[in-house]
Amino acid sequence: MNNKIKRYIPQILTILFVVLIFGFFTINAQVNMDNRGIDFGFGFLKQEASFDMQFTLLDYDGQDSYMWAYVVALLNTLLVSFLGIIFCTILGVIIGVARLSGNFLIRNSAAWYVEFFRNIPLLLQIFFWYYAALRALPLPEKAEPWFGVTYMTIKGYYIPSMIWENLSVFMSCLLASIISIIFIKIYAKKIQEKEGKQLPVLYISLGLITILPLLSFLFGGVTLDFEIPVLKQLAKTSFIFEGGIRLPPELIALVLALSLYTSTFVAECVRAGIQGISKGQKEAAASVGLNPNQILKLVIMPQALRIIIPPTTNQYLNLTKNSSLAAAIAYPDLVLVFAGTALMQTGKAIEIVGITMLTYLTISLSIAALMNWYNKRIEIKEK
């Protein structure tokens, strides 16, 4: 009896505490909203947004609804996160491997790179790139071409855009090649387990992924044209580039800062993963008669990835959450557009901040769930 009370009292107190806090907040919110004449509801999502966005991936203008503005802004956030994740992975792997190099200079430059970018607040780095470094770029009329056709100017980075014809044919070819590669991989694994033979999967997949799309150009009627940005004079002293795609400086600064900052953490994860494998593994694999390539592919990498992937995913999540700093330099991401502009216009603080937080929470929790599932799958099953 005594034990039961001991178990229940703290639980009841906790629940009471939570209920009281939520109740207090709800009642206050109710009273406050009544006083100010605001009503709670999500009807505003269908109203006309009537604000503009500087940079969008999908078609958007002020006549679209708040709902559509939300989708477009979310896509902008995802774009930054996606680009940041790609660049930070490439950089992070290089730096992480370099930190283990036998070369004194390489090892130490990598270490200093990590120490340098890790210890400066991300916000300051974003500001530095946006307000200081990218402002030093030339005006459009004075820009020198990079790689012949792209222009880095103070107004953004102009790159050629692709104009496809029969894109769907090309895409289906690409999809077909990817599906066939997956089947070949499964088949190769079967063969290896049955007969011990190894198929050159890599070469076959490389061949497939180049040849099938190429065939679509030859026989499928697919054409690809590039639209190259051209300098155009607007007024006497004002020039802009026309055609092509313009990557705004906000996007560049954000991706630069995010990938440089996060790459230091990825590098540390990679280093820890490689260091975490004992030398014995390598020696054992060699003594079984595997060649260095096979050792790396079949013994080292599977084990290192098991250590590397979970913390690295965490860093990707952090990068996605940090991409919300976009609001500080006016890149139209979810926080700026939705929790900033839309909130100012509608005054629906609770609904809008709630939706924004829920969006990030959904992204985080779903990736975390995926990660847990993956961890369970690759876990070493001890007998």
Binding site: R7, P10, Q11, I12, T14, I15, V18, F24, F25, N28, A29, V31, N32, M33, N35, S101, G102, N103, F104, L105, I106, S109, E115, F116, R118, N119, I120, P121, L122, L123, L124, Q125, F127, F128, Y131, A132, A133, R135, A136, K321, N322, S324, L325, A327, A328, V335, A339, L343, A349, I350, V353, G354, T356, M357, Y360, L361, S364, L365, A368
Partner: protein, 422 residues
């Protein structure tokens, strides 16, 4: 990447050393002359070859130098550390040349062509950095809009708080057992009172300065300090809650932790500034700074909790069993047996959380508090001082870098110290 140069190597290793040293130093000398004195001694070579000349020469020189044993210490060290293979030699050369190329412009911008004299923008005439800007704005960057003649109040408050923080070290033996109580309960209260009465003022003959005027680096310190001392106990309670075997307590803690860890800090700050006032009674006013501190504390407590949970999980079961077999209850067991050991384990992790906290504080700029990033934004848009964003951000970056680097080194040292003890 296997270029064989063995054919041109002579059999006499002395010749190889002389030749290698000569070529290697020639390549470095060439780059040095070009970048520091702007003399191109290879201008007679056609276009691109002149650019790659030092690289090629240095590469050949290093491959001449590469040998098992030379008997000369420097060359042996060179071979062992930076010249182990062709690929390494190439990377080495690229790094050395990049450093030589980058040093002169950086040096001349930061030091040689820079200005620090004068009080106006006109004093900055050189092509280099304008440190005059930093000098003139220094007080603003440090203290925000806090009235100039009252800066002593901030300084003395900080000195007092730091001194009290160290007071724990000088406790007598019989007071040692109250150390935890002191740091968790008494110290935060005293620190709060000091900062409230000294910096805010309003009594004891001190003029009231509202929080809107606080700013600069001192605000960064105030915010991170309070978040730091409040988030630790909260995180500890949450960590215990998450490990509890009472379902209601456990799920409440899990929900709390996962919620805060799943949202970006910036949305939390937005919540504290626009949404939170809606949740408070109408006549109840809470200062924006206080709201922000509460928001960051709640946010960081979730991270803190996860770190502490790691420490709790790392303790062997035997510790729990032993404590229980002595007849200790839940709280007794945790306070006297589990937490002291677990907290010792997680000191590095906690230090990292605090480091992240310090790096996160500039974000309060987004909700309109003028800490150092905010002051920089203000200064760079001042019509009298346009065009010095670079200097400002570099200055702030250096300050933060020093603080964060020192913290990370300290946490690394702690980690090493406790590693050996176990």
């Amino acid at each position: 990447m296997k270029i064989s140069l063995s054919q041109i190597k002579s059999n006499n290793y002395i010749t190889n050393i002389y030749l290698g040293t000569f070529l290697f130093s020639l390549s470095i000398f060439d780059v040095f002359l070009y970048s520091f004195l702007n003399i191109n001694i290879t201008s007679f070579l056609p276009g691109n070859l002149s650019l790659f000349f030092p690289l090629i020469i240095g590469f050949i020189g290093l491959s001449f130098l590469r040998m098992e044993y030379s008997g000369i210490k420097i060359i042996d060290n060179l071979n062992k550390h930076i010249n182990t293979s062709n690929f390494n030699a190439l990377l080495t050369l690229i790094i050395i040349f990049a450093l030589l190329k980058a040093l002169p412009p950086a040096l001349s911008w930061m030091v040689l062509d820079a200005n620090i004299s004068g009080d106006t923008k006109q004093a900055c005439t050189g092509t280099g950095a304008c440190w005059t800007y930093i000098k003139v704005w220094f007080k603003r960057f440090m203290y925000g809009m806090y009235p100039n003649e009252m800066h002593w109040r901030i300084n003395s408050a900080f000195i007092l708080v730091i001194a009290l923080g160290f007071a724990g070290y000088f406790f007598k033996e019989n007071l040692k057992k109250y150390l935890a109580l002191y740091y968790v309960v008494i110290y935060p209260i005293i620190a709060f009172l000091i900062i409230y009465y000294l910096i805010s003022g309003g009594s004891f003959g001190l003029v009231w300065v509202e929080t809107g005027a606080w700013g600069g680096l001192s605000l960064t310190f105030i915010v991170s300090f309070f978040c730091l001392i409040f988030c630790f106990p909260l995180g500890m309670i949450l960590a215990l809650g998450r490990r509890s075997n009472l379902p209601a307590v456990r799920y409440t803690s899990i929900c709390y932790i996962e919620f805060w860890r799943g949202v970006p800090l910036i949305t939390v700050l937005f919540m504290s500034s626009v949404m939170f006032p809606m949740f408070l009674p109408e006549d109840f006013f809470m200062d924006k700074l206080v709201r922000v501190i509460i928001a960051i504390t709640l946010f960081e407590a979730a991270y803190c909790a996860e770190v502490i949970r790691g420490g709790l999980q790392a303790l062997p079961r035997g510790q729990y069993d032993a404590a229980k077999s002595l007849g200790m209850g839940y709280w007794k067991m945790h306070i006297f047996v589990i937490l002291p050991q677990a907290l010792k384990l997680v000191i590095p992790g906690i230090a990292n959380t605090f480091l992240a906290l310090v790096k996160d504080t500039p974000l309060i700029f987004v909700v309109g508090l003028a800490e150092i990033a905010g002051m920089l934004a203000l200064a760079k848009t001042n019509p009298k001082w346009l065009g010095f964003a670079m200097e400002g951000y570099i200055f702030a970056a250096i300050i933060f870098w020093i603080i964060c680097y020192a913290m990370s080194k300290y946490s690394y040292n702690l980690e090493q110290k406790y590693k050996t003890e176990r």
